[in-house]
Amino acid sequence: MIRRAGLLLLVLWLGTVAGCTQRPGLLIGYLSGQPDSTLMAELVAETLRQSGARALTVGCPDLVNCGRRLQAGDIDMLPDYSGSARVFFSTSAVGDGSLDVVRQTLTPAGMTVTPGLGFRAPYVLLMEAEKALEKDVSAIEDLSRLENARFSVPAGYMRQPGDGLLALARRYGLDIRTDAVTEATSPSDRMAALLSGGTDVAVMRLPYVRSDMGLTVLADGLGFYPRYEATVVLGPRASPHRGFVESALEPLYGSLNPEEVERALHEIVIEGYDVETAARRLLVAEGILAADSPTMRRPEMVVAHTGVESLNPLSGQANLVLRRAYPERPVRMLSVASPLEALEQGWADLALVHTSDFFQLTPEGLFLGRVQHGEAIAAIGRRHFLLLLGGQASASDDPLAGRLGTPPGWTAGGKVAARMLVLAGYLPDVRSNGPDLVRALRNRELDAAIVLLNTDTREALQALPRDAPMLRAASLTEVLARAPFFVNESRLASSPVPGEDEPVDTYSMQVLLAGPAPQGRMGPVHGGPASAIATRNLPVPLREAEAIAAAVESPELPDPVLPSFRNRQAADHARLTESSWLETLLIVAGIAFMAWAGWLVAQPSAPRP
């Protein structure tokens, strides 16, 4: 009895506490297909969510529909511009669009507007600059000189009360034929129509207009358009939560500067980012949203690379590729001794490696086999080797017979150079980084050196005096009859040594993004409940690997000697379609067992004692 009463009390208490903490649910309207409206709605929703509200954005086909839904209480609020709000909700003549006036106008209808968000987005009429110059049109009233002018306007704008196109025509006494007006929801469609000559005049919001587009903004000489300050119109449905909403939105008031909004719209319209991402980024940039708030706590993509080897600018390119493939995830470069081992251990999601990292090579150039930890996903670029000869070496000498330098033995370049020399029957005398080898060649301490053309080495070569570099580049492919199977012959368009402009034949290897290898792990370790903990050292899912590969601008595919996610796809397919003897045996055994079990059921039980 006491226990039941205790349980009942617990339930009641929980119900009360939970009920008291129930967050308000708010519906925020926006104009579908209008990025500025969608962005504002998302900014408002995100800010409200930060205060604990449940905010949901609801799209409407046009302003008329949105306005009616707001008045009818289907939605709580509509982020909009003050001028539009006034002319729409008051149905009064176009006039002052200041927030105070708009607020006074809306109060009798049980509505209000919040303080401004900090930017304005007036409607503007745009013409292509050359056409405007040709037709001598610089203001809206000049449009009367334009015969049969074609207009491209937002959906619903033509008959929009107060500040719509027909209202504008009446005010300016323009003769606008409705059949010459095309409605296009997307601002980019209107802009495209204008730039392609498909229309003469386009109606846009100002933040979409960029100064470098060669467009003329027609002057509003009669002051037809009111002020369009970004604000939030609160409808009657929001009345019970008005205090909460106004206080929750406080960080937004006056905070959104026009440049940031323009940038966010550019991201959405031009770069194709989703509105949520752009809105969150904008809020973080404006200091309204903490970068580490739960919303922004995106798991980072950790990319392991060998810190001792300068991979610039390829590491930057890899970063860009990953940002394209994973726009939501920050990318962190992790410096480790062995990137592929870091994948195996689950310290990193991906690795930036050289082709040679897929093979076990000793600093002495011995080949011990393949590394099983990784599979290639995308080739980011190439690193070239270069054979440099000291000034004293003659063309007839064996260039490798003298004192020879290579990169340090622990680097990819050093291991591969050592392997090249082993195959040619030589050993390096000096191991050092590229700039040091260049210096040694110039000081005649070395006769030849095989260097990896990284940024440091290139800079060291470029710093040499053009008239007396004291060294020269030679063809590595001619000198080495055999090369490791994982390097490729390639040609440098011009020698990096100053004063030499002719091409140089050499060897190169790829720099790749690699993911953890499947290593024969099939079935239960792929996805599903089996992937509960160690999600990091599992192979990159095919869809993601394809996204990374697609994000690389270079058409070069990973070297065929490397294990690749594409091979995995083929291997998986083969495994699925070809039944091995073991599987056939299992099937036969399974059927036989079930038949036997059925026979056992059918048999009568032995009499019990």
Partner: protein, 497 residues
Amino acid sequence: MLLVALPMCAGVAAWGLGDPAGLADWAGNVTGAAFRALDWLYMLVVTGLLVLAAWLAIGRYGRIKLGRADEQPEFSRGSWLSMLFAAGMGVGLLFWGVAEPVLHFEGAPGPAPGSREAARQALTLTLFHWGFHAWAIYGMVALALAYFAFRRGSGYHPGAMLHEELSGWWVGTVAYIANVTAVVAIALGVAGSIAMGVFQLQRGLFVFAAVDPSSLTVSAWILAALVAAYCVPLVMPLDKGVKWLSNANMILALAVMLFLLLAGPTAFLMRGFVTAFGDYMNELAKMSFQLFTFHDREVAGWFQGWTLTYFFWWIAWAPFVGVFIARISRGRTIREFIVGVILVPTLFSILWFAVFGGFGLYEEMYGLGGVVTMVHHDVSIALFTLLERLPFASALNAAAMVLAFVFLVTSVVSAAFVLGLLSGPGSNPSWHSKLAWGFVLAALGAAMIVAGNIQAVRALSVLGALPFAAVMVLQVVVLLRALRADTAAPRDVEGGP
């Protein structure tokens, strides 16, 4: 048997420590081959178990009591349900409550990922994995054990009933193998759960108190706390130790669920519950035979990775949960047993996933978002990060950690009890025996944590289920034979010896 099972467990642990990748690869290859070759058979067997359970509950055998005719159940119905539920699924529900529906929402075959339809299907698929089929596996294994233990007095060993009902030169060998398989499967399966539970608690501490989520020292401390916690109930009689813990934890779980339901989008979650229930019932027959035969490779991979793996997990846990459920079910009729073991936990699972999974989906679709990304990043952190979005987040996270901890304790206590039962005489193992198995499980769990490779653990858990599935079929076979034989005599419906 102990002399065979224990060295086997130790050998596996040593292999896992020495060459975790090699062990994982080997186990993965073997289980992969079985998945590809026998997925149709396992699906058929599991669905068959469900149909059989329904037939037994509805049919004339439903009135048969598991025990003497005048025998009363040892535990009250509430305690019975909470005990079997806590032992069977507790920590898993906590682990997957949020994560699984969210993962299906984004990656299951069928509707476009992230769509409204995908959200609806996500809950249905989750319920398919955690609903009737799962409990039918447990229920039928437990029923067979209970029937032979309480009506034939043959003990709880999986092999004992084979001895009892079958005859032939091969029976002794098969029974012995069945017993060893059961012990090894229990030990490895529960040790794996210990390792996974420790990882999850560590992630919880990371969210809660920013401790290092990958520090081995923290793992060691959590494991030590776990061992200290389950040693106490291990030395107490079952009805005091496990019952008290199970009841306390179920109340806390219900409280957290209720809070989530009321503080979250209540109407949405309740609608989700009704919709999910309806969709599940509607799709049950179709899903029970869905092998994605004519779909492409990725879909087949999804089916193996999720549905089939779940079935194997349930089968791997069946020898342990089955014995435990049988042990606490004396005095109930077959009908009551099946309703209690299959129907009630399934209904509770539906509510649980509708609340936790529904809340995750709601947050992804209409709330702060980012749940899918979070789950993809780390499944074990999903629950804690989602609870962070509710009022009293710290208290909720603390409650979730307590739940995970206690669910783990109850699982280990129950497993140690069952292992003690299987490795010794009588129906009440001594506290020495339970404690010894408790330490063995801790050692295995520690080995897996130190090895740091949970893949080997998972693959091995499934590997243990492969042979046990055959044992399970034989258990059902002998149950059917025994029911038919026993009901031929008038005394049998009245009660056993």
